[in-house]
Subunit: 124 residues, 2 copies
DNA sequence: GAGAGTACGCACTTTTAAGTAAGGTACCCA
DNA sequence: TGGGTACCTTACTTAAAAGTGCGTACTCTC
């Protein structure tokens, strides 16, 4: 079995240390970051929806993660001046690009997690 | 722009809390996990190669991360009884599957990181 | 014979992410 | 008057991730 193709940017196979991509990768692959991005891939959703879908998230982490993703230009926040408050979150174009890559990853994880954790399976 | 397709497993849009996939996702999306898996997607490599390629990793984290990935059946360890010691690491079949999903993600991050971090760009 | 390379394990400390708990607003309903 | 809802913020604490430094056993080079 041979190698998957690496992009030209890292063709030398070295992942530079100071590089901004490290930061972005940390934001994106954070515990709740992945889940929220994938959840939002289905379309605009409000605070309380996200809270339900990312089961177990605290309000603090929800706010914090959303804020980070918004700063990174991946998530758009739309607060409407109505009572009771209503805030809709959605992905930006860039966020959609990202989520398209994250969804298969999360799906794969879902499908293989049982084997991986429970499994006394051989690595052949 | 409409939603990316979500797999049947999470069609309800809820990511259950106790689920083993959370654990696997944490392993895989850990700071060094991603980098090592992508590095190994190019084929078998030894300890010192990986140390070089995942720039900035400490020996402790290299050992620890590799051990976790090995336990998860994603990485295969091949220690040869020679002097000086030589240990080769490679991906299992399952690991290859995963890396095929991670490579585009990392590539995307590389290409967009500059805009995201440096950028005063609008989220349109 | 002094020093460097190889692939670690172990103990300790620091840093960071995440969790917990509480409060705040501005309304609406009973 | 007193909840209840929706969307947060702040302060404090804990748990997990990551970093630091040292030791090992052997061998090959200078």
């Amino acid at each position: 079995m041979k190698a998957a193709p690496l992009p030209p940017a890292l063709a030398d196979g070295v992942f530079p240390a100071g590089c901004p991509s490290r930061t972005v990768l940390d934001h994106v692959t954070s515990k709740w970051g992945v889940l929220l991005l994938v959840a939002l891939s289905e379309g605009e959703q409000r605070w309380s929806d996200l809270r339900r879908r990312a089961e177990g998230i605290s309000e603090k982490m929800l706010a914090q993660t959303l804020k980070t993703l918004e700063r990174d230009g991946l998530v758009r926040r739309n607060a409407r001046p109505v009572i009771p408050p209503r805030v809709d979150y959605s992905l930006t174009d860039r966020g959609y690009e990202l989520s398209a890559l994250l969804v298969p990853l999360v799906a794969w994880t879902f499908e293989n997690a049982g084997d991986i954790i429970g499994g006394a399976e051989k690595a052949k």
